[in-house]
C-alpha cells in the first residue's frame, strides 16, 4: 500500500487528485496542473514534498565521509547553512541518486534525497561508512515533513504566514539555509523560481500548510512540479539519469568536481570513459503532439532519445530534455518520432523558462535580430 505524507488528509480535503509516486500517495493536481504551474511562475505555489527523505550525516568524520562519497565536493561548503547539489554515484560511475547536501555544523550535514531511492541510498551510505571506516552516523529523519513554497512572491507570502521566521530567513542567499528551533528553511527549490523549502516535524506540517495557503500560496501537485522543473532544465532522477547513466552523459558534469586529487566513489570510472552523448533541450517546432520520454530522435550524427518531455505552459510549446549524439549543438534541427510522425524540433540549451519568463535561446538562428 502506498505511504502517506502528514498532509494526506489536507490534500484530499482540498480536492486533490492523488497518484502513486515512488511508493507514496501524492497529489498530482488540485484541478488544473497548468494553472498551478502559472501560479508558481507569477505568484506563489505550495508543494508537499514530504515523500523526499531527509538523511542527516552526523559525527566528527561527516565532512571527510561526504568528501569521499559524493561527486560534488563538500569542501565548497564553508559557512554553516550553505547547500550543494550533488550526485551519489556507484563505483562504476552510474548515478544512484541526486541530492542536496546542507552544511549545518561540522558534525552534522543534511542530505535530502529522492523518495524512490531513499532506502537504497541509506544502505549505500551505510556501506560506504563501513568501507571508509569513518566516524559517522547515517540518520534517516522520516519524522520530518518537507514543504516547498515557490514563485516570485513566495518569500513574502511565507513571511506573512510566519512573521517570526522572517529575521532568520530574509538574509538568506540562494542555496543557503537557516535552522530555527526544529525547522529548517532553505532558499532552494525545483522550479526555477525564488522561494523556500521547509523541513519541519510532521506534527506541524498541516498548520504550516494551512498558514501558507491562507497567506495566498496556491496548492500545487506533482504535475506542475514536473513541468516547472523541466522548463527550468532540471533533471528528474529515474528519467533523465539513473544508475545505468554517467552524470557526464546527463548534463550533470557541472556537479562533478574532478579538480584536485580528491578521490570519490565513481571517479575512476568517470575518468576512464569519455562522455558518449550530449544532453540538451528540444523545442517542438510544429504541431502534431507532445514530446515524451523514450521517443527516438534522429539527429545529424545518429540517433538520440528524449528522456523527459512535456507541454510547456510558459512557452505554449512542447519541450524536452534529450540524450543526443556527440557533436549535436544548440541551433541544430532534429526529428523526433512522435507516435507515427517525424516532427521537427530545435536543439537548445536545456533551460526553457526561469523567473517567470521564457529564456531567450541566443543560440537559435534568428532572422530579425540586427
Amino acid at each position: 500500500m502506498a505511504r502517506k505524507t502528514p498532509l494526506n488528509a489536507t490534500h484530499r480535503a482540498s480536492g486533490a487528485r492523488m497518484v502513486d509516486f515512488g511508493g507514496w500517495e501524492m497529489p498530482l493536481h488540485y484541478g488544473s496542473q497548468v494553472e498551478e504551474h502559472h501560479a508558481v511562475r507569477r505568484d506563489a505555489g505550495l508543494f508537499d514534498v514530504s515523500h523526499m527523505r531527509v538523511v542527516d550525516i552526523e559525527g566528527a568524520g561527516a565532512r571527510a565521509f561526504l568528501g569521499r562519497s559524493l561527486a560534488n565536493d563538500v569542501a565548497k561548503l564553508r559557512t554553516p547553512g550553505r547547500a550543494l547539489y550533488s550526485c551519489l554515484l556507484a563505483d562504476d560511475g552510474g548515478v544512484l541518486d541526486d541530492l542536496i547536501v546542507y552544511f549545518l555544523a561540522e558534525d552534522r550535514f543534511r542530505c535530502v534525497v529522492n523518495a524512490g531511492t531513499a532506502d537504497k541510498d541509506i544502505a549505500w551510505l551505510e556501506a560506504l561508512a563501513a568501507r571508509f571506516g569513518r566516524e559517522v552516523r547515517i540518520v534517516p529523519r522520516a519524522e520530518l515533513a518537507l514543504l516547498a513554497i515557490q514563485g516570485p512572491r513566495a518569500r513574502e507570502r511565507f513571511w506573512a504566514a510566519r512573521p517570526e521566521l522572517r529575521a532568520a530567513t530574509e538574509p538568506l542567499e540562494p542555496f543557503h539555509a537557516a535552522v530555527v528551533g526544529d525547522t529548517m528553511v532553505a532558499r532552494t527549490g525545483y522550479t526555477g523560481e525564488d522561494g523556500f523549502e521547509i523541513a519541519l516535524p510532521a506534527a506541524g506540517a498541516a498548520a504550516m500548510w494551512d498558514a501558507l495557503v491562507a497567506a495566498g500560496a496556491r496548492p500545487c501537485g506533482l504535475g506542475a512540479r514536473d513541468t516547472l522543473r523541466l522548463e527550468a532544465g532540471m533533471n528528474l532522477y529515474g528519467q533523465d539519469m539513473d544508475e545505468r547513466v554517467s552524470p557526464l552523459d546527463a548534463g550533470l558534469a557541472w556537479t562533478v568536481d574532478l579538480s584536485g586529487d580528491r578521490d570519490f566513489v565513481g571517479k575512476a570510472a568517470l575518468l576512464a570513459h569519455a562522455p558518449r552523448h550530449e544532453f540538451l533541450g528540444l523545442v517542438l517546432l510544429e504541431p502534431g503532439g507532445v514530446l515524451r520520454a523514450h521517443q527516438k530522435v534522429a539527429a545529424g550524427g545518429g540517433e538520440g532519445e528524449v528522456t523527459s518531455g512535456t507541454f510547456s505552459p510558459t512557452l505554449g510549446k512542447s519541450i524536452a530534455l534529450a540524450r543526443l549524439p556527440r557533436g549535436t549543438r544548440p541551433g541544430d534541427t532534429v526529428e523526433v518520432l512522435v507516435r507515427d510522425k517525424r516532427l521537427a524540433a530545435r536543439v537548445v540549451k536545456p533551460v526553457f523558462a526561469r523567473r517567470g519568463k521564457p529564456v531567450p535561446d541566443l543560440s537559435s538562428p534568428s532572422k530579425d535580430s540586427p
Binding site: 487528485r17 498530482l28 493536481h29 488544473s32 496542473q33 497548468v34 504535475g223 513541468t227 504541431p287 502534431g288 503532439g289 507532445v290 515524451r292 512535456t310 507541454f311 505552459p313 512542447s318 507516435r339
Partner: protein
Amino acid sequence: MKLPQELRYTDSHEWVRREADGTVAVGITDHAQQELGDIVFVEAPKPGRRVKAGEAVGVVESVKAASDIYAPVAGEIVAANAELATAPEKVNADAYAAWMYRIRPDDAAEVDRLLDAAAYEKTASA
C-alpha cells in the same frame, strides 16, 4: 461526473450524439477529460476516411499523457472540429460541447447498441 442522458457512450470513454442529418458527433467524456487533465493537443481524423468500429482514429494529449480516440461505429468521417486544433482546452471546459469529429454510420442501428448513460457510468466507475 457529468453524464447527459440523451447521449450514447463507449467503454473507451467516447460520447456519441445523433445529429439531425443522420451523422453522429463524437467526443470524449467528462470522466475522460478529468482523467487526462489539462488537454494540449487534439488530432481528429480527416474527413473522407473510412473507419471500422473500435479503430483508433485520433489522439488526445494532455500535459500528462497521450490517449487514442476510437471510432464508436463503422462508417465514413465527414467532419473534424478544427476549433480544437487551436483551442484544445475547450475539451476540459465542456467535454460534451467539444465534439472532435462526425461520422456517417454504415448502419444507424449500430449507434443504438452502444452504452447508455447508466451502463457507461458503471464502466467508468469500475
